[in-house]
Amino acid sequence: MTSFLLRADDVLRQRPWTTESAHAASALRHLVANIVLFGMAYGAVMGCFGGILGGRVQQVVYSALKVPLLLLATFLVGFCSFFVLNTLFGLRRDFAQAVRALLATQAGLAIILASLAPFTALWYASSADYAAAVRFNLLMFAVASLGAQGLLRGYYRPLIRRNRRHRWMLWTWIVIYAFVGIQMAWGLRPFVGAPGARVQFFRAGAWENAYVEAFAVVARLLAGMLTS
């Protein structure tokens, strides 16, 4: 347990073993384990909003499964295009290291999220407003994403030093990841679980398009402002 936590600490401190090819297999196993376990930790706390007694414990389990699912599925959906684009721009030689950097960042994101879980718990304890709880979780994800960005830059620094084109690839990845990730998060709702609603893994009709919905909300707001 202690060694597991120490190695998680290494991820945050960008120790060389996380991205060196010499330890590739064990590092990958460890990074994925980090993503799963720390993601589950945050997810479990996230799902506690409706309480943990009775049938509600199911929501806790579902949310715990969904956070690592969100991170890993988004990674997998974007992976193919990242591979082909890297190859095409002549960066194939560094691809393995780039992937390890991305995975280490994801692990870092999960660790940061888990470290923010107590805040979420405190928020849940102090307010029963569902919409506010959802917004607070969004804020926590935003904070964790910002932290992970810094980590990603750190992990990518040696690659960028080797070839400046890696910077473009980094931005390409961030765009792809955000584009897919937002829709993935939208599709995997509910994470928080409204207290009165039935507990379910996927919300019925949840698989709509996040961007179309967001645009509709903005359009409604604008229309409201114009008519009032």
């Binding site: 193919c80 002549g90 194939r92 080797r162 698989w207 709509e208 398009n209 645009f215």
Partner: protein, 294 residues
């Protein structure tokens, strides 16, 4: 089969289009095998595109009909575009005065298509993911997402085409720039100037000349990638002309061919059909979809 995938990998890595590989004035690739890979990749992307109909149609026959149609139509789109454009491209190419043979040009186009389809297929999982998570209301979004993906892969296709044309013209002329210093004013102006090969004028002083006090940047780019411009050469006049012509021809024919072969995504409100009635054109339709998106 594996050999062909390897060939695709060589093209993507830029190994097949390095200058020493182009010494025979053509790309050394198995054209037939690579074409088969192109068709396969097109089918993969087509299937990803057809996922939208799979989720958003009621009748089983409609669902799988559209999936099958999209899977067949995407490779057909590229092959038909190639067939329609190839004769005129070749003739124009010969008129401008480049010396690409028929075989060299066919190989060049197959390699470029391989790049296009590889990028397209690699973006397939993202399209498939958005397709399965889309509802009927998301039809407009899916159409635009597909247009965006095609535009992106098309841009990379054209970049590859341009750089490979450029490299072929360099390979025809001779070795690296340092070994053939063709200096500007002294080159005799004959009836056929070596316009494909224009090294930068050596008289321009480089702002980076005094390197001593500057820290040396460690940038290890040993081999150029598939999309890199070879250092020391600027694009020749012939290359620019041929490329400009190809861009226009490919862009127009490709977009309109896509329009003729529609529907690819399949509007949820209409019953499945292999082809739609002849009407309008691609560019009008994209503008219309943008207007009606939400």
């Amino acid at each position: 089969m594996w050999k062909w995938v390897k060939a695709l990998d060589r093209v993507l890595r830029g190994e097949a289009t390095r200058l020493p590989e182009l010494s025979e004035e053509t790309i050394q690739i198995p054209a037939v095998g690579l074409s088969a890979v192109v068709v396969g990749l097109g089918m993969v992307y087509g299937a990803c595109m057809g996922c939208f109909a799979l989720v958003n149609r009621q009748e089983l026959a409609d669902r799988f009909g559209q999936l099958l149609a999209s899977t067949v139509k995407v490779p057909a789109l590229f092959i038909l575009t190639l067939l329609v454009t190839f004769p005129s491209l070749y003739v124009f190419n010969a008129l401008v005065g480049t010396r690409l043979t028929l075989r060299a040009m066919l190989r060049l186009l197959v390699a470029s298509l391989a790049v296009n389809l590889a990028v397209l297929a690699s973006l397939g999982p993202i399209v498939a993911f958005f397709s399965i998570s889309a509802t009927k209301a998301g039809y407009g979004f899916m159409v635009l997402l597909n247009v965006l993906v095609f535009a992106l892969s098309g841009a990379l296709f054209l970049t590859f085409l341009l750089q490979t044309l450029h490299r072929l013209s360099i390979a025809r002329r001779g070795p690296a720039p340092s070994l053939s210093p063709v200096t500007g004013p002294d080159v005799p102006e004959g009836p056929h100037p070596p316009s494909d090969l224009v090294p930068p004028p050596p008289s321009v002083p480089s702002p980076y000349e005094p390197r001593a006090e500057r820290p040396v940047e460690v940038e290890l780019v040993e081999e150029p990638g598939a999309l890199d411009q070879i250092e020391g050469y600027v694009l020749g006049r012939h290359v620019k002309k041929v490329f400009g012509c190809w861009v226009v021809v490919f862009g127009l024919v490709g977009a309109q061919m896509g329009w003729v072969l529609r529907p690819f995504v399949g509007s949820p409100g209409t019953p499945f059909q292999w082809f739609r009635a002849r009407e309008s054109n691609f560019f009008e339709a994209v503008l219309e979809t943008m207007r009606n998106l939400f």
